[in-house]
């Protein structure tokens, strides 16, 4: 019965049994006959064992009558059994309640593998200790099959392994198996949906559920509670536990905070800078801006390329045709957050915004009109040279202009008519020309290559020409060649050169760069820039045909030199500074710092107390010798290197020529009063030269008496501005 878990289980067990049977049959073939007579007995006993098995006993009893009706074959057997076992049942009464699944007690061998008995004729022992014999069987497969085919009870026959017998199940038992297989209760009459009888109900019973007397601990105060309370009391005493705070929500409760407005401002607030407000939005930001504020494609591309920090607008202007189409601005929270960061992270500083009118910055100068006369227009152009005109010079009378050019000629022009009176081919690029300032002689010094030529252009009165000839011939009588400086050779011109007006040749050891006359007209100085030796400057005395080198030490590359117009001083401009030497005492009196990189030219005021100096770094510096060795004024008028500077002899004018093609004429009044500083006012920018080879104006000089200025340019012309 217990093995009836399902139909398959049942079948399987059957098969197993059959197997066992086969084995039995094999082994017991000789014993088969012996066992036949015992068959009925054993069957009986087996059956009774089945009947008594455990939990099912009640059911069996309950359905006794059904069984009797349904089972025709077993009827008599059952009766027998019942009669025989009354006594037994009575004995077993004490186990009636026991519903436990105890082991099968028909066979007392217990739960052991039944193979152990396969070699014996019995299969175990019954309760009385008698052997239970194996059924004598010679069933083979054919028998089994025949049985299967013929026996109508075959399907309800179960092989009992314990007893080794086949048991035919009754209808009740089959029913029970079916019910269990369906998952129903075994008992047909059992009602699984009966109403529950509550053990503990809401009704108060007369009798208690348990009649236990109350414990002692329910009458006496709890110690643990006491401990807990005392802990709390202690905590309250110590202030660890605070009474529950009265729920007052301070937020959202407002009152007149500024009821008593005292104007006592904390010291901190004096220092406090209120944060600047956010700039207000412009037309760009409108949801429907005028069309001109929208980005074009290029602007948009540019905006997208730019770094977010460089963008002028942090957003792209957009146009929406109606308000309902305007979307949310994605950067809104960002912008707010940025503002928050600015407020607490940015250092604040009071920035003094220079709110000046730019007009106020322009210095108030006297009007150029009031400072007339000064040259204003280009009135004459002297054409004839074919190379750069490096140097020009005006005769002291103001009638003649001499110019030296890279084409190897010196030309003499009449100032008023711009006529070229004379051309002297000297055979070399002329670096410098200088007219003798003495009005009583008419001589011109020309520097080219390593020679200084003295020309007598004979463009003056006979008397003047005579006097100059006399000056030149004076030393012939003395005939004292300069022995001291063997490097400089004086020689007289001869032949053709004499006809051209050439008088003297002073041969220098190196290339001569510049030549200047002393104001008296007897001395002239020449420069041979050379960084390596002290032989850079020579001073020649024309009347005695003598040359000397005044410096014994090299103090830098000499750029230009100049004589003081009145006193025996000599100015030497090196690359960055100007040194002033006293020729009488033979010592340096001053050194002027020009603050420029490379001096190009220098001019001394006819009064002798002021010097201007132009430099290749576009600067023009004015020195007041009485004031300081630093420039009194630095003028940065020119865009390019300054090539030449000049003072006017009579008028308070000076001019500077530059590579940018312009000549700037400035008014520079010098006061006799030492307290008043010179007044410098630029009055005119003169343009007239064409830029050639990046060179503009190369030299500039004033007319000795008129407020006119001459300029020579790289375009091979000379201009006169009046």
């Amino acid at each position: 019965m217990k093995k009836a878990g399902g139909k398959t289980a049942l079948k399987r067990s059957k098969e197993e049994d059959e197997e066992q049977n086969q084995i039995f049959n094999f082994n017991r073939k000789p014993a088969d006959e012996d066992k036949d007579d015992d068959l009925s007995d054993s069957e009986d006993s087996v059956y009774s064992g089945l009947e008594d098995s455990g939990s099912d006993s009640e059911e069996e009893e309950g359905s006794d009558d059904d069984e009797e009706e349904g089972s025709d074959d077993n009827d008599d057997k059952m009766k027998e059994k019942k009669e025989g076992e009354v006594s037994e049942e009575k004995k077993k009464h004490e186990y009636e309640h026991d519903s436990s699944d105890e082991e099968d007690i028909r066979n007392t061998v217990g739960n052991i593998p039944m193979e152990w008995y396969k070699d014996f004729p019995h299969i175990g022992y019954n309760l009385d200790g008698k052997k239970i014999y194996k059924p004598i069987r010679n069933k083979d497969e054919l028998d089994d099959f025949l049985d299967k085919m013929e026996n109508p009870e075959y399907w309800r026959t179960v092989h009992d392994k314990q007893t080794g017998s086949d048991v035919v199940l009754s209808d009740d038992q089959v029913e029970l198996v079916n019910r269990l297989q369906r998952g129903q209760f075994g008992d047909v009459n059992f009602n699984e949906c009966e109403p529950m009888v509550e053990f503990f109900s809401s009704d108060v019973m007369i009798h208690p559920v348990t009649n236990r007397p109350a414990d002692k601990r329910s009458f006496i105060p709890s110690l643990t509670e006491k401990e807990k309370v005392s802990k709390l009391v202690h905590a309250i005493k110590m202030g660890w536990i605070k009474p529950r705070r009265v729920e007052d929500d301070g937020r959202g409760r407002y009152y007149n905070l500024w009821a008593s407005e005292d104007s006592s401002i904390l010291a901190r607030h004096k220092m406090h800078l209120p944060a600047p407000k956010i700039p207000l939005p412009g037309h760009h930001e409108s949801y429907n801006p005028p069309p001109e504020y929208l980005f074009t494609d290029e602007e948009r591309a540019l905006w997208e390329q730019q770094d977010p920090a460089d963008r002028k607008l942090p957003f792209v202007p957009r146009k929406y045709s109606s308000l309902r189409q305007v979307p949310a601005f994605s950067q809104f929270i960002h912008e707010r957050f940025e503002r928050c960061l600015d407020l607490y992270l940015c250092p604040r500083q009071r920035k003094m915004r220079v709110n000046v009118n730019p007009e106020d910055l322009i210095p108030q100068l006297p009007k150029p009109k009031d400072l007339q006369p000064f040259p204003t227009t280009r009135s004459l152009v002297y054409r004839g040279h074919s190379g750069l005109v490096r140097s020009i010079s005006v005769s002291p009378s103001g009638q003649w202009l001499a110019s030296g050019s890279d084409d190897g000629s010196v030309r003499f022009w009449e100032v008023c008519s711009s006529r070229c009176m004379k051309t002297v081919q000297v055979g070399g690029a002329v670096k410098s020309v200088a007219w003798n300032p003495n009005p009583s002689v008419c001589l011109l010094a020309v520097a080219l290559d390593s020679v200084v030529l003295i020309l007598s252009p004979s463009l003056a009165d006979k008397q003047v020409i005579l006097s100059s000839e006399r000056l030149l011939s004076a030393q012939q009588e003395g005939e004292e060649p300069a022995e001291g400086n063997g490097s400089v050779v004086w020689s007289e011109a001869e032949g053709e050169e004499l006809n051209q007006g050439l008088r003297l040749k002073i041969q220098h050891p190196k290339a001569v760069h510049q030549v200047v006359w002393h104001a008296k007209g007897d001395y002239l100085a020449s420069v041979m820039p050379d960084n390596t030796s002290h032989l850079q400057v020579y001073i020649h005395q024309l009347s005695r045909r003598r040359s000397q080198n005044p410096f014994s030490r090299n103090k830098g590359l000499v750029q230009c030199i100049s004589f003081h117009p009145i006193r025996p001083y000599f100015f030497v401009a090196t690359q960055r500074s100007i040194r002033i030497y006293n020729l009488v005492k033979q010592e340096m009196t001053k050194k002027l710092q020009t603050n420029s990189k490379w001096i190009s030219s220098m001019a001394v005021h006819p009064g002798g107390d002021h010097v201007i100096c132009g430099s290749y770094d576009c600067k023009l510096s004015w020195f007041d010798l009485d004031l300081s060795t630093k420039p009194y004024k630095m003028l940065r008028h020119h865009k390019k290197a300054v090539r030449g500077v000049a003072y006017h002899r009579l008028y308070p004018l000076f001019a500077s020529a530059s590579d940018d093609g312009s000549v700037i004429v400035c008014h520079g009044t010098v006061y006799n009063d030492l307290l008043q500083n010179p007044l410098i006012v630029p009055v005119k920018v003169l343009r007239g030269h064409v830029m050639t080879h990046d060179l503009g104006v190369l030299d500039v000089t004033f007319h000795p008496t008129q407020p006119w200025v001459f300029s020579s340019g790289a375009d091979a012309t000379i201009c006169l501005f009046t």
Binding site: I241, R244, G250, R251, G252, N256, L257, W258, D262, S264, L266, R268, H269, M271, H272, P274, I278, L280, P281, G282, H283, E285, S286, Y287, N288, P289, P290, P291, E292, Y293, F315, Y320, S321, S322, L323, R324, P327, A328, S330, F332, I333, E335, R336, C340, L341, Y344, L345, C346, P347, R348, Q349, V354, V356, I362, L365, K367, P368, R636, V683, V685
Partner: protein, 588 residues
């Protein structure tokens, strides 16, 4: 010589500044707490003049605070509260760890809180100070009030912000102090004049925010904490200045009673009250129920000359302002459901108009669409089903433009489905030389009372004007380049001469022709101008280096401005031309 050796960085500016980390250590605060303290107290870093000196010779980038500021922070009671809070958190953690739930509850109940009243008073000693600094507070509160009630910050904060902003809007309505409105792509800018202070704030459009990741909401929340306190006190003061009840109550006997039946739609009474307030359709209750406050008449002071003119100008301005305050008085508006209700209701009520909307849109509508007395219906859709004859159907921009123009603009340009005229920023005040969009000129003409006759004509005139301006500008530029041009002329002359010379040299029998000489008209004015320009140029040459630099910078800025203005004008012209061409094409 005796005496101690002087040590570096022990006096002077090095001792006046303190780095952020040192300040933090001195205050014994964590960095977030220090940051919060700085925000609340309004302490900001300072940039020392000589950074290297202060930084003890190092050039590492550091944030410096004034030592005095930090000392000032030392006495702040809130610092103690921060520490208490820190301890509270620690205790709470411990209690959680031990699963002592009663302790957790007890601690929770006694959570330390602080108030910012004294800080507000200290930072803004006078009410006007507070008003001056209220821009940011308003912007922030308006932003927070639009946040969803989940996530980013406490719900209470959002509710408080909403309440305060509603109170603020109600005050502005009651005092009629709104001056300008601007619809930008970012949001709606409002400018109000409260007690003589111009206050500007921006309200985002009503959309949910997608919260950026790289924003520290703790910083924003700290600011909001301060700002809500400030705004609350300011509102209280403002309400009391107008004799209004604070917290605001709706006027129970007002003529425009909100409909009662809609009240049932709201679950909670407290909520519905705020909603009704925020509907902005009803006026507020006053402490003293004075029917009409008499406007204090300005006394006339006897004055002379310039003062007189100024006085007159001021009076005129005042009159204009008064007129602006009553801009929409007598008009009855109805808002369609697709327009931004709150903004429009706010603007309309600020200028004395009556406003209503569909009752399913929001609580507090006062009349229905069917009301025959409605004068304007604000609508923002291409077409509408049923139209009433006796009202204008206009787009919302009309209202904003009217407010900015201070007059009722003609409604024709704003009708249903009409292409709207550009919406200009009222905050731009064009100076001389700045570019002025033609729409603005038109508006100014309207303000002056000129009737726009034939529009096209005017357009043309304007164009002419513009051209004139441009010419002037060009002339100016010409003046700058005048000298160069002269040179050019000379050069050209020379070239001519050279040519003639060449011709002469080429063939000697030059057919000489005497042409009657042209009289060179000397423009005296021009000559004078040139002279002046030349003078100026020469004077500029004599400027000192520093001044020259400054001057160049200023002039560069000016030129850039001119360039930008020209660019805008050119763009506009191109656009107009293309439009015209299109029109012509369409006509053909």
């Amino acid at each position: 010589m005796g005496g101690l050796q002087k040590k570096k960085f022990e006096r002077g500016s090095a001792t006046n500044y303190i780095t952020r980390n040192r300040a933090r250590k001195k205050l014994q605060l964590s960095l977030p707490d220090f940051r919060r303290l700085c925000i609340l107290k309004g302490i900001y870093p300072h940039e020392p003049k000589h950074k290297k000196k202060v930084n003890k010779g190092s050039t590492a980038p550091r944030t410096f605070y004034l030592l005095k500021d930090i000392r000032f922070l030392l006495h702040e009671p809130i610092v103690g509260k921060f520490r208490e809070y820190k301890i509270f958190v620690r205790k709470l953690k411990k209690a959680y760890g031990k699963t002592e739930w009663s302790a957790v509850e007890r601690l929770r109940e006694n959570k330390p809180t602080y108030k910012l009243d004294h800080i507000i008073k200290e930072r803004y000693p006078t009410f006007i100070d507070a008003l001056r600094d209220i821009d940011d507070a308003l912007c922030m509160c308006f932003l927070f009030s639009t946040f969803a009630r989940t996530g980013k910050c406490h719900v209470q904060t959002i509710q408080l912000c909403r309440r305060l902003t509603v109170e603020w809007m109600n005050y502005v309505i009651a005092s009629r102090s709104l001056r300008k409105v601007f619809l930008s792509i970012k949001g709606i800018y409002y400018q109000a004049e409260v007690m003589g202070q111009l206050i500007t704030w921006v309200v985002p459009y009503q959309f949910s925010h997608d919260h950026p990741v790289d924003v520290d909401y703790r910083v924003m929340a700290t600011f909001t904490e301060l700002y809500t306190t400030l705004l609350g006190f300011v509102s209280f003061r403002l309400y009391s200045s107008l004799n209004l009840v604070y917290p605001p109550k709706l006027d129970s006997n007002g003529e425009s009673e909100p409909k009662e039946e809609s009240e049932d739609d709201y679950a909670m009474n407290s909520e519905s009250y705020l909603e009704k307030l925020s509907a902005l359709s009803a006026s507020l209750a006053r402490v003293v129920s004075s029917a009409d406050e008499e406007e204090a008449q300005l006394d006339q002071f006897p004055s002379e000359g310039e003062d007189m003119e100024k006085m007159e100008a001021r009076e005129k301005e005042l009159k204009q302002q008064e007129a602006q305050k009553k801009l929409f008085e007598g008009l009855k508006f109805y808002l369609n459901r697709e327009v931004p209700r709150e903004s429009l209701a706010f603007v309309i009520r600020c200028f004395g108009g009556q406003v209503s909307w569909d009752k399913s849109v929001c609580i507090g509508s006062t009349y229905d669409v069917t009301d025959e007395t409605i004068t304007h219906q604000i609508i923002d859709r291409p077409s509408v089903g049923k139209q009433y004859i006796n009202r204008y159907y206009i787009q919302p921009q009309w209202l904003y433009d009217c407010v900015n123009a201070k007059i009722l603009l003609p409604v024709e340009d704003y009708f249903l489905g009409v292409t709207l005229p550009p919406h200009l920023s009222p905050f731009v005040e064009e100076k001389e030389g700045d570019y002025v969009p033609p729409e603005k000129l038109k508006m100014m003409a309207l303000q002056r009372g000129e009737k726009p006759g034939n529009e096209q004509e005017e357009d043309e005139e304007e164009e002419e004007e513009e051209e004139g301006e441009q010419e002037e500008e060009e002339e100016q530029e010409e003046d700058d380049n005048g000298d160069e041009e002269d040179d050019e002329e000379e050069v050209a002359e020379e070239k001519n001469l050279k040519k003639m010379e060449e011709q002469r040299s080429q063939d000697k029998s030059l057919h000489v022709k005497v042409t009657p000489g042209k009289l060179k008209v000397e423009n005296k004015a021009r000559l004078e101008q040139e002279e002046k320009a030349e003078e100026k140029r020469l004077a500029i040459m004599m400027m000192k280096k520093k001044e020259k630099y400054l001057y160049d910078k200023i002039m560069f800025g000016k030129k850039r401005k001119v360039r930008e203005a020209n660019k805008l004008a050119a763009k506009r012209k191109a656009h107009d031309d293309s439009e015209k061409a299109k029109k012509k094409k369409a006509r053909k």
